[in-house]
């Protein structure tokens, strides 16, 4: 239970960083922290204490099957990391373009649109 709680704390920290920081690069970092908190969460969902890799070998009995970790969340996390990398690359590229146009990373000086 504590692990899930700490995972939620990490997610909240990322969200706080995203909302409270003025610097857009720090906002990007906050988003990455959130992304990693969710990846961690997926890993925890599939975690099993003392588990082994889910590879069936010759001569295994059914008691071994019980100890297999769930491989699906790991596959999901791999995909999610790749997607996160794509989003991160786009975000950093946009930050560079914004810096070229405005000469600053400070959101309060960039902000012209009212939302």
């Amino acid at each position: 239970m504590t692990v899930y709680f700490l995972c939620a704390v990490l997610l909240t920290m990322g969200l706080y960083c995203l909302v409270a920081k003025k610097n857009i690069v720090k906002k990007v970092i906050g988003l990455v922290i959130m992304d990693y908190a969710v990846n961690l969460y997926l890993i925890i969902v599939g975690y099993k204490k003392g588990g082994v890799a889910p590879v069936i070998e010759r001569g295994m009995n059914s008691s071994m099957l019980e100890r297999f970790v769930d491989p699906l969340p790991q596959a999901l996390v791999l995909t999610s990391i790749v997607i996160g990398l794509g989003v991160l690359a786009l975000m950093v590229a946009m930050c560079i373009r914004i810096y070229e146009r405005h000469g600053t990373f400070d959101m309060s000086q960039i902000s012209k649109l009212r939302g």
Partner: protein, 512 residues
């Protein structure tokens, strides 16, 4: 072979080929994008009335393998997405010549179409997330495509909020997996109804997942209070992209996903206490969106910003219809009433796709001819650009619910359903806000179309045929949906309504 995977494969292949061929062949973007969207639009229209099918990717049957599902709801969205995409590409051919890097533009556009079609056909929660991200990333880049100061700022804002939504959705998917042990939507639905329908209450973890899903998809659908990115992002994008974003992106990534996840996976079951809470929160989000989107739109002088706020309000009507239907189902009310409410919501979704993309394309045509979006600098467009003005007029009448255009009928159905469900206050708000919609479109007509020629309009000329043909087609659709509903509209809408009403049918369809 079933054509379902082609809806993803064709645009994805085009998105891959366009930048590669673009190195040697300058026109690769225009040709390939136009060709593939024509094929997709024809395929989507031909799939009207087809029986619901499940395609097993790689021959692995669900719940082990990934399934692509095409039922009534999917067909409705496929038609909206692919027809609007085709018309937007047609409009882009002339409009986008002012920009550089065109192969990149068309490649991103096709990627966005591939993502939306993927979301719509996916029968697997994680697959839905992946396609959602493909469509979102492409649309972030397209909003910032002009790389001017405003566009970058709007794009960044959209990117940050959209990514928060994606994180929430992934978290919710992980939770659903932790509780049910499956990612297949039909299998998860079966598991949830087996375990919690008898127990009478939902697992708290699933409730958390439902809340996260609602927040994530509402951010993608720009429902108030998650709307802050939309009024910046939609006006900043090039006009065809604004039309895609307002016309279909917020619907396929937001509204469709809400429908699929809540109606099918979670289900509105009268035996489960939490389903009323879910339905109520949908109604609340809808009412807030209708009020705030409508009222703020009245005060806008930037034409595209006005349209963007109007999108928030109109998507509110769609969610209102669906939410009232969900509430009737959740409280065990008459199914015919739920059917009426859902039909109204879906009808408004289809209509809004037609008239809002028409309005955004016309705003592009007006900006192309006059060089401004400021309504204070326009006037008397009727004399200078008769075709654009006439089509804009039609769309404005349709969206503000003037009979006999399509928007009137869909709003009428929603209102009748809301009144019959005895939500009188909500019905009152919806009626008042329908008048407010009329108010700001009368403002559009007075400031832009009628009156004496003034300001930037003096030098304006009618746009070339490549730009006004899509406008005319969409205007015909706007009128046609209103008048010809008994002739062909029901063939699209009624299967979609039945798909949403009968969650058990969906489970049976996918799992056999």
């Amino acid at each position: 072979m079933s054509p379902v995977p082609l809806f993803v494969a064709i645009p994805l292949g085009a998105a891959f080929l366009i930048p590669m061929l673009g190195i040697w062949w300058k026109k690769s973007g225009e040709v390939l994008a136009a060709l593939s969207t024509v094929i997709l639009a024809v395929m989507a229209i031909l799939s009207i009335g087809s029986t619901a099918v499940t395609h097993h990717m790689g021959g692995w049957a669900p719940p082990v393998g990934i399934a692509l599902v095409s039922d009534g709801l999917t067909v409705l969205l496929l038609i909206a997405v692919n027809v609007v995409a085709f018309l937007c590409i047609l409009f882009s051919l002339k409009y986008m010549t002012a920009y550089s890097g065109l192969p990149k533009y068309y490649s991103l556009f096709m990627l966005m179409v591939a993502g939306m079609n993927g979301v719509v056909v996916s029968g697997d929660l994680f697959n839905l997330y992946v396609f959602l991200e493909i469509a979102s990333i492409a649309s972030y880049a397209l909003v910032a495509f002009g790389t001017e100061a405003d566009e970058l700022e709007a794009g960044f804002k959209y990117l940050v909020l959209g990514s928060v939504a994606s994180v929430m959705i992934l978290f919710a998917i992980g939770t659903v997996y932790a509780v049910t042990g499956t990612l297949n939507m039909a299998d998860a639905a079966r598991e949830i109804s087996l375990r919690f329908s008898g127990a009478g209450a939902m697992n708290p973890a699933l409730l958390l997942a439902a809340a996260m899903f609602l927040m994530g998809f509402s951010l993608k659908a720009a429902l108030v209070p998650f709307h802050a990115w939309l009024p910046d992002a939609h006006p900043s994008a090039p006009a065809p992209i604004s039309a895609m974003l307002s016309g279909v992106v917020i619907k396929s990534l937001g509204v469709y996903a809400i429908c699929r996840v809540f109606f099918h996976v979670f289900g509105f079951d009268p035996n489960v206490t939490s389903s009323v809470i879910l339905a109520n929160s949908m109604i609340w989000l809808a009412v807030l969106s209708i009020i705030i989107g409508g009222l703020v739109a009245v005060g806008q002088w930037d034409y595209k910003r006005l349209l963007a706020y109007s999108s928030i309000g109109q998507v509110g009507y769609v969610i209102l219809g669906l939410g009232v239907g969900a509430r009737v189902l959740a409280t065990g009310g008459p199914r015919s009433l739920a059917a009426l409410a859902i039909l109204g919501g879906l009808f408004h979704l289809l209509n809004h796709a037609a008239f809002k993309s028409l309005l955004f394309l016309s705003s592009g045509a007006i900006q192309h001819a006059t060089g401004t979006r400021d309504m204070k600098q326009m006037g008397g467009l009727r004399d200078k650009m008769p075709i654009t003005s006439a089509t804009t007029n039609l769309a404005a009448l349709s969206i503000s619910g003037v009979p006999p255009f399509s928007g009137f009928w869909s709003k009428l159905i929603i209102l009748i359903a809301v009144v019959k469900a005895e939500h009188y206050v909500v019905a009152g708000i919806a009626i008042v806000m329908a008048f407010v919609t009329l108010v700001y479109y009368v403002k559009v007509q007075r400031e832009i179309i009628f009156g004496s020629v003034r300001g930037a309009v003096e030098k304006a000329k009618e746009v070339p045929a490549a730009m006004y043909v899509p406008l005319i087609i969409l205007a015909i659709v706007c009128v046609g949906f209103g008048l010809l509903y008994p002739v062909f509209g029901y063939r699209i809408l009624e299967p979609a309504r039945d798909a949403l009403l009968n969650g058990a049918e969906y489970v049976k369809l996918v799992l056999g």
